[in-house]
Symmetry: C2
Subunit: 400 residues, 2 copies
Amino acid sequence: MIKIALLGYGTIGSGVAEVLDINHDSIAKKAGEEIAVKYILDLRDFPGDKNENKIVHDYEIIVNDPEISVVVEAMGGVEPAYTFVKRALLAGKHVATSNKALVAKHGPKLLQIARERQINFLFEASVGGGIPIIRPLISCLTADVVEEITGILNGTTNYMMTKMSEEGSEFADVLKDAQQKGYAEADPTADVEGHDACRKIAILTSLVAGSQVDFEDIHCEGITKISAADIKYAKAMGKNIKLLASSRMVDGGYSAIVAPFLLDDAHPLYNVHDVFNAVFVHGNVLGDAMFYGSGAGKLPTASAVVADIVDIVKHIDKNIVIFWDEKKLTLKDYKDVAYKFFVRAAADKDAIEAAFGTVSYVEVPEIAGETAFVTEPMSGKVYEEAAAKVSGMINMIRVD
Amino acid sequence: MIKIALLGYGTIGSGVAEVLDINHDSIAKKAGEEIAVKYILDLRDFPGDKNENKIVHDYEIIVNDPEISVVVEAMGGVEPAYTFVKRALLAGKHVATSNKALVAKHGPKLLQIARERQINFLFEASVGGGIPIIRPLISCLTADVVEEITGILNGTTNYMMTKMSEEGSEFADVLKDAQQKGYAEADPTADVEGHDACRKIAILTSLVAGSQVDFEDIHCEGITKISAADIKYAKAMGKNIKLLASSRMVDGGYSAIVAPFLLDDAHPLYNVHDVFNAVFVHGNVLGDAMFYGSGAGKLPTASAVVADIVDIVKHIDKNIVIFWDEKKLTLKDYKDVAYKFFVRAAADKDAIEAAFGTVSYVEVPEIAGETAFVTEPMSGKVYEEAAAKVSGMINMIRVD
């Protein structure tokens, strides 16, 4: 019998308790041991809840109980999560977490402590919710040098882009709809400005590169500038607009970006709609692969956390090696990566071609007073020089 | 330094040597040890090949060399692969294989020997080529009861269905094209009759159920009856026809089938084209997930084999537990599963409705002399009773 403690009894923490309950027998069989929740740390009480007698308010009870071999952190945020997780590891307790902020900021330090003690720090649920992506990267794609990893990593914005595409509506309207449905928060900044996706691609890039990528170093554009007119042009080109978080190998290093992209229907991420997430990987020998599923939600995320717990129980005396040095990786300049650029400008074709050279024009009958076009592939630097020469620029979206 | 032997220097065996060479340093880092090929067993010699001095013709050299800790089986077929693999395991050598016929037939026996000796028998490449699916099933979806696993598991037939859909051509023509491109063999039976996909879904179902599923027990229909007319109807309905290999949980057991299915564009497998493979999984807590990638090909398949080798090196003293008993699982009758059925019959609407009840008709202007329709969901048994009442049945395709 493995006894565990949950830190936090919110959506994910209670989901973990629920999954351990629903699939109790099959989980025990796969782990080789029964798994029981002994404590749940939360500031609140939960009178009437089936786990109400497991609630504790003092972390010392958990960290000092030698019966607890696994701590599940589902509090979110960097502190006090970091202090609690670090103390658990130092006390020889394995940790599973769903906390992307914690992992993005302190992942390598916590992995190092786990490695030194031959225990485990796992975080499958921190990226892509229920989609298995961290473990496949660590244990399945080991024969490859990953040359690109690109994800739709935020369900809220993907829902919004899907709605805008289906209904032709404006950003402000779909945001209101997403807030009403509970998909977007009252302050939607972290989602719509791409900050959430940015932390996730920082984690994935760190794992791919084996060194710390600070999310603050990643160029990040959200979806707030995407309008119904952009969607109309996308449709005219047979493309979808998706908020991508992407890292590519450039000159032996990695360049990372979070931004809206135009994808055509041959791209594996083209058809990832609503709140679903997906991660596309290109390996130098594997070629293209994609992992798709529920990127958020109580039970899918808890499913990933519980899979970590099972893996911990199967490796109770062995550290699962995860390469992620504390040494900071300096990213290559995202402006050195070449894309085609879709551009809308209140300018005439002569001015556009003088600045951008050969372009392909896109026309939408009901939009007048502007010229829309797609450039040839060029680096971000070359694009910016060209764009500076054209007055009346309206919007730009990269084409993948 | 880990020394390995390759059994077979054909497409996959030589691919394994190539991947170990191309990504030598990154693989050594991830495995924690350098990996070197010491022997390659093949009947042929390879004069001028960079590995020509590693070729041996006698298996005894390999099985009796204590320096060899990992044997990679890439010969294909059940014998002599089974004898060689079994002897390697009995001699305490780990084994990785890409051989679906071997795994489908003798998987549980070989896993048992590996378990008893605390070594490993891994077979990621036996299903879905380079797509990580076996390891995710074993180590990522452990929190879930898998209620459905459905794959596009044969690249040849998926290429053919894609071509038929794109070009409106007939089965015989695309088969010829696939043979010319080297995607289909001179005798295409194993692909087009679904036998290849059948072995793969037998392996996946065995892993999901934890017991031996014999592929001979799985109802298997190929794509040979699919015509250009069927594709026209599919397009009229906004659907694609795909050869699916699928297992579903029914009454606490599993029912399995290989057959062409009509998928609409909301299905994650709808957009899997050409030689790509994908596996869709529905877990009771995870919900929907999908794994997509190159289902065949030298380097993608070798990538999966090498990932197994790396996992073996990381678990050199520890058996990775894979639940798959020799005890045979009796499958539920596939005719008990309910689908909608798309039907073409040279019959009038009165006769059709008398037999099938309410149906939705599908019309394609250029096809005359027949009636096409989609039934309400019904079990295969109910469908067969209804179909027996209608004379002039032309074709039936299930709708997923």
